[in-house]
């Protein structure tokens, strides 16, 4: 089975019903997307498929149609995405385990809606669970990232 992740093509030998998350983590050692719940309740596994946020724990590799971008492909420490810059400036993370998914979902939100209201943020980010409770900072970071992208 072939898939493209962060611009690199990979060949994997797995059952077609293996979730994309586990292909990424345990077959390709791409560990930015996290396992949190396995049932689309926490959002920690969120990646983009052709630019759209998808819970990779729910997407069977056999059903993957499109290129995958993980948090590692969104931006890097040396070349940060605007959302990541905002996340750093707002010092959002505590344990940080959910933040890969939060950032991927926020990037998708801002691609669809460049100037989201708090209500929009609450509707789109409602599926991303943060056990540490960094929500006030996530909201602030989404607004800050929106401003950065508007200015870009």
């Amino acid at each position: 089975m072939r898939l493209t992740v962060n611009g690199t093509e990979h060949e994997v030998d797995v059952e077609p019903d293996m979730p994309l998350l586990w292909v990424l983590r345990d077959e390709l050692n791409i560990t930015g997307p996290k396992y949190g719940c396995g049932i689309a309740q926490c959002g920690a596994c969120t990646v983009h498929v052709d630019g759209f946020a998808v819970r990779s724990c729910q997407l069977a590799i056999g059903d993957l149609q499109g290129d995958v971008t993980t948090i590692e492909g969104l931006g890097t420490p040396d070349n940060l995405h605007a959302v990541q810059e905002a996340w750093i400036e707002q010092q959002v993370a505590q344990c940080g385990y959910c933040q890969s998914g939060q950032i991927m979902q926020a990037a998708d939100l801002l691609a669809a809606n460049p100037t989201p209201s708090d209500e929009d943020i609450d509707a789109v980010m409602g599926g991303n669970l943060c056990r540490c409770g960094t929500y006030p900072r996530i909201r602030a970071a989404v607004h800050a990232a929106a401003t950065k992208l508007q200015g870009a």
Partner: protein, 747 residues
């Protein structure tokens, strides 16, 4: 803040550091009874004086031994050293180091001293000092818990930094011939009067030959460069780019992935199992019997979990009541002398006190820890040694537990502590370590990563203990005249320590923590009694431990009494309080929200609550509206006094996050048992707060507490009663049981 580019270039030294020639410093050299663990890694001819600072010819490495579960101590420990060492955080490498008794926690026994933590009298301090000494000699425990990291390291890490700085200056003086008094230090270098910079790394070899300068004076906080100012957490870039490896992300060559299933009736037997279907599933390599269950070893975690789900088990009965109702019935029956844990506080005479009586019974349920990173551990067992990669709060015990299973000398068992995707107390437990060790022991030579499925993480959690409170309050002449509080619950400490093979003599102070030590010195009649049982489901420390349930019980009863008295909830609390630090946080929170009573209009209300835990006074005000769709949280204000603020941004984050944690669980989380098993198996049934329920949370930090305190847990206890009290103000409905959504709808 440092520029993004600089932050991005930072790298961490995780796990053991291979130091080639160097020097380590620390003031504890003189009075430190334990050998310096860094000596083992230094090459011949090098010197090392202490556990926290290592300088070689290439880099400065700071050891930050306290575990980081998200609270940010990795950064703050490094900043404490760097402040005195005169080096910037982007110039150093920071490591958790390797577990060693040299890093034993001097503050963790403080809460067990039997004195309220606001009591700074000579007697209380003598007992604390004595207990700390006993602990040092008996079990010099390296541990992160009880919000004790900052009290533990506040002085010793700054001293370690100052010692290193002064010794490097001495080395520079010898090299240059310039008197020490004419040298200064800045950005990781000693600077000569002519401006010449001698980097610390260039001075390492000579410094290694010197005895460390231990007679150092710490700088006054007014001189601090970075402490007390907003700092970038040193893990923030990695955590924002998916590049920080947690324990679950550890990868090495030829590793296998495993998962386990043990009896969901905690502690019950495994009578039998049929793994024939699982054995035939793709990628499955071994099915291994472990204590109380079965492990599947595969070449992919998902395949291991799928196969484990395909095993048919015959599980034995639970060694505790099978159904939840029986747990509550049991608690209701232990308010008697036979089960008395302690008469923890007696002031005046609550029974003879005059006044109108208000009574209430309160319930706090079992709750799961459920950190977002499921419990996991990677272990490699070879003939000579064992290596463990996991995140844990009691590091040396991990090595001991594994050594007992593999048969190695404990000196040959090495824990590489990892960043944790949360813990909330779950990573104080050892079952997952033992299970991973049993697997790796049978897979010698192959590294195996054992990961719980989220479902296993829930059903095999040791949740927060259930608690039942009964209170009688008396109000007289518009004031609260008496509070008589009885708390029945399980002993968290006995349950938890029992699994570690330790016994707890005497009463469990956590059973009345947060109630007995409420510093309401102006309350003339005040009694707190607690009752203990060990007959229910096994439980563990859940963030804030006893103070979580107890502050809910205490502050709810108090609020009922204040309303019955017709007094103002904030004013009456301030009147009852004879403790300046606590009055300070109550006045601060009132100022922040422009408090003008609990009733703020039709269908709206405010609730205030105060909590004292881990030595920190916290006051919280919650504002709600009763809408057609249910209760909506509009705004929260929190004021707290930690004595000394080291990182105001991180502290605010912890205040907000702790409040979210307290509110979310109070609203919608409980673990209930049916047929001996936890009924909630994933976040759909135990979700805590989500972003759309999260109100704006404002925070103010005060610095009047005479001692520095940790803040990982204290924001939690007052949040639940503040919400319950706000709901009462908005609706007239008094909710005496968590989770609140059993009694009222939320938006």
């Amino acid at each position: 803040m440092a520029s993004l580019g600089k932050i991005a270039r930072r790298t961490f030294l995780i796990g053991s550091a291979a130091i080639a020639g160097g020097v380590a410093f620390g003031v504890y050299a003189a009075r430190q009874p334990f050998p310096n663990p860094n000596l083992d890694d230094l090459s011949e001819g090098s010197a090392s004086f202490n556990p926290w600072v290592i300088v070689d010819n290439e880099r400065v490495t700071l050891i930050a031994p306290h575990a980081d579960k998200g609270q940010g101590v990795f950064s703050t420990q490094a900043a404490l050293i760097a402040e005195e060492l005169d080096i910037e955080l982007d110039q150093v490498e920071v490591s958790f180091g390797m577990p060693d008794q040299a890093y034993f926690n001097t503050a963790i026994t403080e809460a067990a001293a039997g004195f309220p933590m606001y009591d700074h009298s000579p007697t209380a301090e003598r007992v604390r000092g004595f207990l700390g000494g006993v602990a040092k000699l008996a079990i010099p425990m390296m541990a992160t818990g009880g919000s004790s990291a900052m009290p533990d390291v506040y002085t010793k890490l700054r001293e370690a930094g100052a010692t290193a700085r002064e010794t490097l200056k001495l080395a520079a003086s010898e090299e240059s011939g310039v008197p020490v008094a004419d040298l200064r230090t800045e950005r990781g270098a000693v600077i000569l009067p002519d401006g010449t910079e001698l980097p610390y790394t260039a001075l390492a070899a000579r410094a290694a030959t010197l005895a460390p300068v231990t007679d150092v004076a710490l700088r006054d906080p007014s001189q601090w460069r970075m402490l007390g100012q907003p700092m970038d957490r040193i893990d923030i870039v990695q955590k924002s780019t998916g590049t920080l490896p947690y324990g679950i992300d550890f990868r090495t060559d030829d590793m296998r992935f495993a998962t386990v299933k043990v009896n969901p009736r905690q502690g019950g037997a495994m009578n039998g199992y049929d793994a024939s279907a699982a054995e035939a599933m793709p990628g499955v390599e071994r099915i291994i019997e472990i204590t109380g269950g079965v492990a599947v070893v595969a070449n992919n975690t998902w395949r291991a979990i799928q196969a484990a789900n395909a095993i048919e088990f015959d599980w034995g009965a639970a060694p505790y009541p099978a159904d939840q109702a029986a747990h509550w019935e049991h608690l209701a029956g232990i308010f008697d002398d036979e089960h008395l844990n302690a008469e923890a506080r007696v002031e005046g005479d609550v029974e003879a006190a005059a006044g109108e009586e208000i009574t209430g019974e309160y319930r706090s349920p079992y709750i799961a820890h459920a950190p977002l990173e499921p419990l996991n551990a990677t272990i490699l067992v070879t003939e000579d040694r064992v290596d463990i990669w996991t995140g844990h709060q009691v590091q040396q015990f991990v090595e001991q537990v594994v050594a007992e299973i593999t048969g190695h000398e404990v000196d040959n068992v090495h824990l590489h502590n990892q960043f944790m995707g949360g813990s909330f107390g779950h990573r104080l437990e050892f079952d997952f370590i033992r299970q991973a060790a049993e697997i790796a022991h049978q897979m010698r030579g192959t590294p195996v990563q054992m990961t719980y499925s989220r479902e296993e993480d829930f059903v095999h959690d040791f949740p927060r203990h259930i608690t039942m409170g009964r209170g009688v309050a008396k109000v007289l002449d518009g004031q609260v005249n008496a509070l008589d509080v009885q708390i029945a619950g399980q002993s968290v400490m006995r349950s938890q320590m029992g699994r570690m093979g330790l016994s707890l003599p005497g009463p469990d102070t956590q059973l009345h923590e947060g109630a007995w030590d409420a510093p309401m010195f102006n309350l003339p009649n005040f009694r707190v009694r607690s009752y203990l049982t060990e007959a229910l489901a096994p439980v563990s420390s859940w963030r804030a431990v006893g103070a979580g349930p107890n502050v809910f019980i205490f502050e709810s009863l108090l609020d009922e009494a204040i309303h019955a008295a017709g007094a103002d909830p904030l004013e009456e609390r301030i009147r009852l309080m004879g403790h300046d630090v606590s009055v300070g946080v109550l006045e601060a929170v009132g100022d922040m929200c422009s408090w003008n009573g609990a009733n703020i209009g039709e269908g709206r209300g405010r609730g205030v609550a105060y909590g004292f835990s881990f030595g920190v006074a916290v006051a919280t005000v919650v504002e709600v509206t009763n809408t057609d769709g249910g209760i909506k949280l509009d705004h929260v204000w929190v004021a707290a006094d930690v004595g000394r603020v080291l990182d105001p941004v991180n502290l605010e984050n912890l205040a907000q996050g702790g409040t979210v944690f307290g509110l979310g669980h109070a609203i919608n989380c409980e673990i209930t048992y049916a047929d001996g098993m936890a009924e909630q198996t994933n976040y759909h049934a135990h979700e805590g707060m989500r972003i759309w329920q999260c109100p704006p949370i404002e925070f103010r930090a005060l610095e009047n507490n005479p001692k520095i305190r940790g803040f990982g847990e204290p924001p939690i206890p007052p949040s639940a009663p503040a919400l319950g009290n706000a709901i009462f103000a908005a609706t007239g409905q008094r909710i005496r049981e968590m989770p609140f959504n059993k009694h009222i709808a939320f938006v």
